[in-house]
């Protein structure tokens, strides 16, 4: 008898012919009887194999872990904010430099500029414009970057 056939008998899927040969082996071979008995007992133990129970707080721990991982994903999504901050800073610096250079330029333009455009050549106006823009940018950064960041970090609502 092959092992496969013995397990077919145990699983209840053996053919009549296999069962007949099995009965013959049982009657004539003590070695086969020992082997079959071993398989029968092992099969019975496995069939009684219980469904293991998890710890009582398994689901709570899992859900906590899951929710925490979702927060991490959220933080990762907002982690582009320093990048935006860097871009804005670069734009601000470049704008400041360009405007400062333009106001200090010694090159005189020969063509007549419109009165409304001429105001941009006024140093006081340019400085005021720069200060206002800087304040606006800082205000924007405070609302969109710093405030959400510190709220998230310290779990407080400012």
């Amino acid at each position: 008898m092959k092992d496969e056939e013995i397990f077919d008998i145990l699983d209840g899927t053996a053919t009549a012919e296999t069962i007949a040969r099995h009965n013959e082996c049982l009657a004539n071979s003590s070695e086969y009887r020992v082997l079959f008995q071993e398989y029968v007992e092992m099969h019975a133990l496995l069939a009684e194999m219980p469904l293991e129970k998890t710890a009582v707080n398994f689901t709570d721990k899992l859900i906590d872990k899951w929710e925490l991982s979702q927060e991490v994903v959220l933080e990762r999504k907002t982690s582009k904010l320093p990048f935006y901050f860097l871009i804005l800073s670069v734009i601000l610096i470049i704008t400041t430099l360009v405007m400062a250079l333009a106001s200090n330029s010694s090159i005189k333009t020969s063509f007549d500029v419109n009165a409304s455009v001429r105001i941009f050549q006024n140093r006081i106006f340019i400085n005021t414009l720069l200060i206002v823009n800087t304040l606006l940018i800082f205000n924007y950064l405070d609302k969109k970057v710093f405030k959400p960041y510190f709220e998230k970090r310290y779990h407080i609502h400012l």
Binding site: D3, E4, A47, M49, T54, F58, T59, K61, L62, W66
Partner: protein
């Protein structure tokens, strides 16, 4: 079929934003997932870690789950792979010293004193000696929740191969039990 419909229903709820579905799904399948993991990794602590990891992976990939398929087949494949990865990562091997000590202890006790718990312990010790796919095949087959075809999908082999492997795995398991318990096995069983 009812289970399949209910699982699918819960998944649809989750995908439409109902977060309570995660808890329901976990409660429904945690014991089976834990049992499969436990049979492969061998300790309850590690099995719990593997089961948790498998659930996390499943939750993350829930949107990609084909809802025409059976959830448990898909999920047990994740559990199986998670357990496999865990075992590789930790390079878990049964401690031969504790194994031989257990066997010695068993051989000095009378067969009558060995209770069912002891028998289960030795089954687990023997299972720990088998390759993970053999353990999974035996576990899923005897838990009777999956057909041979479904077990084949979980392991990633054909149904015919599963049948052959199941036979070989049971034979090896019997041999391992015999080796662990020596001549005591017959009286113990």
């Amino acid at each position: 079929m009812k289970t399949k419909e209910t699982d699918t229903f819960i998944i649809q709820r989750i995908l439409s934003g109902d977060k309570s579905g995660y808890r329901e799904l976990a409660n429904r399948h945690k014991d089976y997932a834990f049992t499969v993991a436990y049979k492969i990794v061998g300790t309850r602590e590690d099995a719990e870690e593997v089961a948790q990891d498998a659930f996390m992976q499943a939750f993350n990939a829930l949107a990609t789950f084909n809802q025409d398929a059976k959830f448990t087949t898909w999920f047990y494949r994740i559990v199986f792979n998670a357990a496999l990865m865990f075992k590789r990562k930790k390079n878990i091997e049964m401690d031969d010293i504790s194994l031989s000590e257990s066997a010695q202890k068993a051989s000095t006790e009378s067969s009558h004193s060995l209770q069912t718990n002891e028998q289960k312990k030795y089954i687990q010790l023997a299972l720990n000696k088998l390759p993970p796919d053999d353990v999974t095949i035996i576990t899923l087959f005897y838990l009777k929740e999956q057909s041979l075809e479904e077990i084949a999908q979980i392991i990633g082999i054909s149904a015919d191969t599963v049948k052959v492997k199941l036979c070989r795995a049971r034979k090896r398991l019997a041999e391992e039990m015999k080796r662990i318990l020596g001549n005591e096995v017959n009286t113990l069983l």
